[in-house]
């Protein structure tokens, strides 16, 4: 339908649409950043032939990544399938990631977290085993069990009761 002669054609108000689209862009940028931080790219998870799909039956989550220490300057990058010598740790909780060089530092970080959990939970719930964050351990597939168990032990010693291990589901390759 053409505009009557002498009147200017009406234009749709695109400003509101632009606002909405920019909001969506900001949302995706923020979410993608958090997602990448949670899934540390230096961790190559084991490939599981039988593992359950992820469930969201938790309220609070602390992700501990365990990965080979990066090579020193001038050294070649290690073979991703070679057995891991020195390891590093990163802990993601809430809104940030922190890297640690030893399991003692990880233990201290987890201790701070469980103390915060305890403060935020009633005594009755805490004694019933509720209110604790879920510890998710994402360990590199070439680590040995001793390296992985150190993190489990640190979590146990500060008072966590359960742990969740992560692996790539069979037949699915990460990007």
């Amino acid at each position: 339908m053409s505009a009557p002669a002498g009147e200017e054609p009406e234009e749709p108000d695109l400003t509101a649409l632009l606002d909405l689209v920019l909001q969506l862009v900001m949302f995706f940028l923020a979410v993608a950043r958090i997602d990448n931080e949670m899934r540390d790219q230096s961790v190559v998870l084991p490939q599981a032939s039988i593992a359950r799909s992820l469930t969201k039956d938790y309220n609070k989550i602390v992700i501990v990544n365990l990965f080979p220490a990066p090579p020193e300057e001038g050294q070649p990058a290690p073979d991703p399938n070679a057995r891991v010598g020195k390891v590093k740790y990163s802990v993601f909780e809430g809104y940030g990631v922190r890297e640690y060089g030893s399991e003692i530092e990880v233990k201290n970080a987890l201790k701070g977290k469980i103390e915060a959990d305890q403060k935020a939970t009633s005594k009755a719930d805490w004694d019933a085993g509720k209110g604790r964050s879920l510890i998710v351990l994402r360990a590199h597939k070439s680590c040995n069990f001793k390296q992985v168990f150190r993190v489990m032990n640190a979590a146990r010693e500060v008072g966590y009761l359960d742990i969740q291990l992560r692996a790539y589901v069979a037949g699915v390759q990460p990007r």
């Binding site: 695109l14 039988i50 680590c143």
Partner: protein, 174 residues
Amino acid sequence: MSRQGRTARHHDAAGIVPRVPIIPMLDMAFQLLAFGLYCFDLSADKIEGQLSLSLPRAGADTSTPTTSEITEPEEDYTIRVTSDGSGRVAGVELTTSRAPTPEPLPRDILPLANDLKARVERKLAANEQPPKLDMQFDPDLNYQVVFELLSAADTAKFKKVSPSLLEAPKKPGG
């Protein structure tokens, strides 16, 4: 510039209506949105699988036994996995609180999972509780192998699966 001059120029510009180029901005925003949608993997949760385990409590278990525990103690299983020195499995053996003599189990994942599943099902068929399982791994074992073994045990629906470090075998008379 004098004050009079500035006022005159302001009057000249008053007739010009500034326009923001909305349409190219919208085009660019849609491009960014498409890029974000492509990069943000909506199926990321399908890449990773989970395995939930219990961490054994530190120290001895001092819990008060219940009546049923006094009349008929539950049978707990222990699986010991040894390494061949290169991170692979050398042997898998099972002991239980009722049968402390080690019994060899399959080393491959699927036969092991089926074996453990059959044992738990036999327990359930006899109206017994599913046992707790302590899996002791050699510290040298590769994590990939450990994860596979743990997930095999997880499918068997034990009451509780706890990983731990392999204890040194007890010396006779020690």
